[in-house]
């Protein structure tokens, strides 16, 4: 039956220590292990509207804080232990290494739980993930930023960048549309952007109110207020899916090359690392190839917007 001269001892096929395979990991360039998150504390919470809050978070460990660097347009995975993880774009300045600001809308179970969390709550972040706006490429050109609703959140990082390097850019305009005046976010920064940084700010709301003295209408109505030189302009667009078609279509007809229009897409990422495929559009991962795409790539992606 069983041959006595041969016994494969159980330890022969022993568990290969994971540590022994780590060198193999490190041989590949730029490998990141992001299974462990950075522990953060919520340092400040600002209520922006009924549905949106601005969370300031700070990485607790100084060493990890020094490691965490991001570029404007990237996102991170925010974890509230026990509830889950959500992809959130970073809304703070990429040169601010002390705190991160995340503008979060109450939309699901995790964000609802976050809304109940107070200051001091410990959360975890993984990242940063994804592509970013090519701010260096845009230097020396006009920049036109167009935001609809919560789309201002990912645009705030490039806005900060432009603020801090204002002399590198020519004319900068921000067109910002919202449903009604109470839905406008970051209103306290409007004056700073307009007066100090000389960013031409144009706001519009769909439904005005009694106090509202500005314009009412769709965001595309704002194009009448500004003059765009298609030859020297870069555009950054972020908003609800339906907005991309109208805005980018308009800019395309105006003659801005498609590779100078950048959009930031929204998907529900689960891993952020191009493994879970939840954010996949065609052959492209929104989490590693995006969320910032030039319009040419988006045009070629079916079902992207």
């Amino acid at each position: 039956m069983h041959d006595q001269r041969f016994v494969i001892p159980p330890q022969e096929l022993n568990r290969e220590d994971f540590a022994s395979s780590v060198p193999e990991f490190n041989r590949r360039a730029e490998v990141m292990n992001t299974d462990m998150g950075y522990k953060c504390a919520i340092t400040n919470i600002v209520r922006l509207t009924e549905q949106e809050k601005l969370f300031q978070i700070r990485i607790i460990d100084p060493g990890e804080r020094a490691l965490f660097r991001f570029r404007p347009g990237q996102f991170l995975m925010l974890e509230l232990p026990g509830y889950g993880e959500v992809p959130i774009s970073i809304s703070s300045s990429s040169t601010n290494h002390e705190v991160l600001e995340l503008c979060i809308r109450k939309a699901g179970s995790v964000t609802s739980a976050l809304f109940n969390a107070g200051e001091g709550t410990r959360v975890a972040i993984r990242g940063p993930f994804g592509s970013s706006f090519p701010m260096d490429e845009m230097a020396g050109h006009n920049v036109l930023l167009i935001a609809g609703g919560l789309g201002i959140a990912p645009l705030r990082a490039p806005l900060f960048w432009i603020n801090e390097h204002r002399n590198r850019f020519l004319d900068v305009s921000l067109l910002y549309g919202a449903k009604d005046p109470s839905q406008l976010l970051f209103t306290w920064q409007f004056n700073e952007w307009d007066m100090i940084s000389h960013i031409g700010l144009h706001t519009i709301v769909e439904h005005g109110s009694d106090e509202w003295t500005g314009k009412t209408g769709m965001i595309t109505d704002l194009f009448n207020d500004i003059s765009i030189d298609p030859g020297t302009t870069y555009a950054i667009v972020c908003g609800p899916p339906v907005m991309f078609k109208f805005v980018c279509g308009y800019l395309d007809r105006l003659g801005i090359p498609m590779n100078r229009m950048f959009v930031s897409l929204e998907r529900r990422m689960h891993c952020g690392m191009g493994k879970c495929c939840r954010c996949m559009v065609g052959s492209t991962f929104t989490c590693i190839d995006g969320p910032v795409f030039d319009y040419w790539s988006v045009m070629n992606l079916k079902e992207a917007i």
Binding site: D3, F6, I8, M32, E79, A124, S283
Partner: protein
């Protein structure tokens, strides 16, 4: 690679020794289906007699040893308003016996996906490194189309691969572990005669395929036929149950879920295999769904398998095992869908004027 010849009896003794001292899995007859056909699955085995070496196919693929349906990614322990996170990559050593060439190809594709790029998966690597894979060739079933996908032979990705050449097995030894195990058994170097028999065996396998799918230029065709009515036709049949992705040897999409332990002292982040056919696969916060229709999602599955992956990794992700086709409750299978799509293409081509002939 080192090649050896082993007699079938000696091979059984080798497998028996291996199985008795290690945690092992092999194809076993578990049931018969409604049509009276045998149902095999990879199940734990403790002796060589339990293994059905001549099995036809397993309903589930071997991917579940590497990508379990549920897998813990990390754990949080709560204390005093704070928490600690722990991550574990441990995997117990396992022997899997009797994988087919297409199953091993599927593992190679998963290696490509999960171990390359900036974010290699340590969870997968730990399991892959701790698994001893013994492959066996087989004559194709009537509905296998792995030859069309070029996966009826496999050059790498296993520890040991056995080709049936009559009374003996022609062994391809691909790891020192396998070589050391085999030292204790009677093997010999292959001679001219055995090499000929191996060539014959390969020819026989290669010529036995009865199902063929023409995948030449398929990525481009899929691109052009994005709005084809074929997707509505098959999409209307699709039940969006996700069975195809569960039995597929290469489908790896997942969702991440988190849950508290009942005592509220800890929580776990778990990964659960998902399917792009499930309705909320592309849903985002606020309720927008980027692929709301059955046809959209079915199309996406084919696009990922035959086009998107081909663009990213230079190969199609499908290995041609037809597990999805057999398991589909609505009778959707890749052969019919792709042929349907090609038909579309051919009818289009008839209206294109032919290029002028040189006289």
């Amino acid at each position: 690679m080192i090649y050896k010849i082993i007699s079938k009896n000696e091979f059984k003794r080798f497998i028996d020794a291996l199985v008795r001292s290690n945690s092992s899995f092999g194809p076993r007859l578990v049931d018969t289906d409604s049509r009276g056909e045998a149902v095999y699955q990879f199940q734990p085995v403790s002796s060589v007699d339990e293994i059905a070496f001549d099995y036809t196919r397993t309903t589930s693929s071997a991917k579940h040893f590497f990508l379990p349906f549920r897998e813990e990614l990390s754990r949080f322990h709560f204390h005093d308003g704070d928490w600690d996170q722990s991550v574990s990559y441990e995997a117990n050593p396992v022997v899997i016996i009797g994988l087919r060439a297409c199953d091993i190809s599927a593992l190679n594709i998963l290696d490509d996906v999960l171990l390359n790029g900036h974010f290699p998966s340590a969870y997968y690597l730990a399991k892959r490194k701790n698994t001893f894979v013994i492959g066996m060739d087989h004559l194709p079933l009537p509905d296998c189309f792995c030859k069309s996908m070029n996966h009826h032979t496999v050059p790498t990705g296993f520890n040991l691969f056995c080709s049936d050449i009559g009374d003996e097995y022609y062994l391809a030894i691909n790891s020192s572990k396998a070589f050391n195990f085999l030292r204790e058994f009677e093997t010999r170097d292959p001679q001219y005669d055995e090499n000929c028999r191996l060539a014959e065996r390969r020819k026989l396998i290669s010529s036995s395929f009865r199902t063929e799918i023409d995948v030449t230029g398929l990525p481009a065709i899929l691109d052009i036929e994005f709005d084809s009515p074929v997707w509505k036709k098959w999409g209307d049949k699709c039940l969006s149950c996700g069975t195809c992705a569960m039995v597929c040897p290469t489908c790896y999409c997942y969702s991440v879920e988190e849950s508290f332990a009942p005592d509220l002292n800890s929580s776990t982040r778990q990964k659960r295999l998902y399917s792009c056919n499930l309705v909320d696969f592309a849903a985002v916060a606020g309720g927008h769904n980027f692929r709301p229709k059955n046809g959209d999602r079915l199309k996406y599955r084919y696009y990922h398998q035959h086009r998107g992956f081909a663009e990213n990794a230079n190969q199609q992700i499908c290995v041609g095992c037809n597990r999805c086709g057999r398991a589909c409750l609505a009778g959707i299978n890749p052969k019919d869908v792709i042929n349907d799509l090609r038909q579309e293409k051919d009818t289009c081509m008839t209206s294109v004027s032919s290029s002028p002939r040189r006289s």
